[in-house]
Symmetry: C2
Subunit: 503 residues, 2 copies
Amino acid sequence: MKLKPIPVDVVLAESTVLLSEKDSTQMGVKEGDRVVITGNKTVVAVASYGVGVVEDGSIKIPSSLLEKVGTYRDGTVNVQYSHKPDSVHFIRKKMDGERLSKEQINAIVEDILENRLSGIEISAWLTALYINGMDIDEIADFTMAMANTGSIVTFSRKPVFDFHSLGGVPGNKITPIVISIVAAGGLMIPKTSSRAISSACGTSDFVETFCDVELDANQLKTIAEDIGGVFSWGGSMNLAPVDDLVIKIEHPLGINPRAQMLASIMSKKVAMGSTHLLVDIPTGQGTKVPTLESAKSYARDLMDLGDRIGMHVECAITYADQPIGNAVGPNLEARECISILEGSKHPSSVVEKAVECAGILFEMAGIPNGAVKAKEILDSGAAYKKFMEIVVAQNGRPDLKSEDLKPGKYSFDVLASHAGYVHSIGNKQIVMVAKAAGAPSDKGAGLMIYKKKGQRVEQGDVLMTIYAESESKLQRAKESALANRPFDIEGMLLKRVTEVKPI
Amino acid sequence: MKLKPIPVDVVLAESTVLLSEKDSTQMGVKEGDRVVITGNKTVVAVASYGVGVVEDGSIKIPSSLLEKVGTYRDGTVNVQYSHKPDSVHFIRKKMDGERLSKEQINAIVEDILENRLSGIEISAWLTALYINGMDIDEIADFTMAMANTGSIVTFSRKPVFDFHSLGGVPGNKITPIVISIVAAGGLMIPKTSSRAISSACGTSDFVETFCDVELDANQLKTIAEDIGGVFSWGGSMNLAPVDDLVIKIEHPLGINPRAQMLASIMSKKVAMGSTHLLVDIPTGQGTKVPTLESAKSYARDLMDLGDRIGMHVECAITYADQPIGNAVGPNLEARECISILEGSKHPSSVVEKAVECAGILFEMAGIPNGAVKAKEILDSGAAYKKFMEIVVAQNGRPDLKSEDLKPGKYSFDVLASHAGYVHSIGNKQIVMVAKAAGAPSDKGAGLMIYKKKGQRVEQGDVLMTIYAESESKLQRAKESALANRPFDIEGMLLKRVTEVKPI
């Protein structure tokens, strides 16, 4: 059917066009069906009824799409019913609990990337994945399919080491320390990190306070091959870009199906050419992995998947029942991280975790007593030297000092209301307070936590200081701290058991 | 955050607004999250990033939504993050395979009706229902929740009989015959029908060729209580309107979860105040119910559900391996239907099915030998008299004759290419050809089928005639007949088994 296109200035994720109900019925098109639109070129879009806003004989079409398709000489476009892509049938198969072949998985991933599946269809796909899952061979195919949707980086140096944290615990600023130690030890570890998704501060959020993180593939390759280490933001690399499209649908549903989560992590490592990968699995209340049992199950999955796709994967299950170290928030985490590289032994939990992780990476490279070697490299200042080489290569200041990183100028001390022992510090609550203070977009926003689990506090002791860049955000963070109460302080006697009397 | 609203002239099913990425981050809003928008009034909408089309400090908002919300005196609106409605958590529960309570089911149904759930969320709901299902008590709660979203009709006459066909077989024009017989027998049966969804001709599509079907609740009540029978289109009655919203999401996914299907049918009967319901389950290849086993399972479900909601439900499993009668398409089906009421004994398959169904309804009312009574009423002309009373009450012509209903003036005979026996007639293929000819929107479009299963045909015999209202649609239907080949003609010997020789 020939229709007059009316451009509308709205760009949505999906290519949706509006048709009149009468024209739609005439063409046999129902809401949610696809139509092929032909002018100079041909595009496929999802049809919706524009009840009351589209006249018969016309089609409302986003301007950007109309530019792409053009019109005939008479100013019209041709519109026709289009069949569903095959991938919709493969999604149905997964809904029916069936296994998918490599080709079927490829088709789904490609159609998501090319915008050929609507939000409704991707939602059904993720729900089916969440309920019916995938076996490890399907996940391996899924991983490779996702990796192949974006750039693939190839290094002339081999092997390629990598380090990944599942995240979920605040204050986890070990990545630049691990990378600096491992690169100083002679290995190549081109690390790409992410910005915060739901946390208060991702690795890239604090690294960008002292050097550039938005490197392109060539810059990353050059720095990694020359210096051994790099701290890049993965988002600028076009790695497995289909993942970003899926996250948009996962987020409102509040789900992250296991198959999708594993393929999402591993596809980016495949795209980076990683041959040896250490995965840190922070385990504890309020993180993504609450129990040791679930941590072991993730570790098994990741290692099995590594086997299938030819990558040497090891996992470190790490303690994460409370924030790592003292600092939370971009500038504060950067300061704590750099001070350790400068020689500080505190906080020891950060130092130990970084050394242990670097040690495992050395052992994966065949170097014995990895942790001892990692400790030597950190203590000798070799890691600091390597760190500064990387910082300078990424346009950081050659005279960078940890004290350069300043907290926001508005601050508030949270005091203990009564004496006792710190019984718990809620990871989720800490994140909420830091975000209320403005982290991660306000670089000076965050928290310094002075008391950790099991420590004795007296009434009036400072438990933590909240920093913000504006008075209003400080106020918001104070309110959040009051509402969420991240600290739980109790007497050492948790519960008094009275004598059991006979009934 | 205060933003300047920019109206856009697009109305989508969902209330979607576009924000800049920077403003969204500032507010802690991610794509797919909800925002509360406040001006004169307060509304909730789903947020999307308008990359490149929304400036910081502004919000693009559909004009209709902006009219509803209004602005502050300074022309701005206030925008804030809003939590997901509780129903999203209940959808998650179903995804996790759990049972839902009545209150939880009510919340989901209400939020779908009030546009508080996005397409992505409804898609996850339907997918979870498809995979994890509901038990019969949940379905009963679901049915009542859906019924309560719309109008409830109450009759002063009781009991209220009803008749429903699951459909899926072309040519099934028995409804006006059944209603006329039953009403002539003294029962009240206020029947609401649907238009075609995927078929070539729904009951309302052919009834509206000879009388009005868009009655409001008062008209329907008056006619039913006075005359006993009515042929109304359910769509004009606002019965369980949430169903229409769900169908829009089911359609692109190509699913109709059992729980949704049962609740969809039964909620409309509850809304119509039905106390006694007969369900016709057409069973055969190419219908919704291909095997006797699946038909029995539907029947059990419907009767169990009837028990739970206090409705007397019986089911008739009917033969549907080929089209019912000879005519397919609005005018042609109307002609065949009326001619039987006028006294024609042909096609006997239509007569028999109508008489059997009316007979079961009589027996549900406690009248013995229902089929005998139904036959008497049809043969005596009492059913025809009742039919004409209903037609006139619905503004049909008092001198209506079956011959008034004319096929389209363009026609084409499909001939047998070789002699043999009709081995099968494909229901789906017949529907495709009739739709290609223009049914159901072109009232004269359709087919007359002259040869049925098991009949002997000679080369050159006319198998069916295709009718259309334009030459181009006739051409399209011819091509469809050629491509889909609805008739399968074979020699009586289906397969010759040759002597089995030893290897």
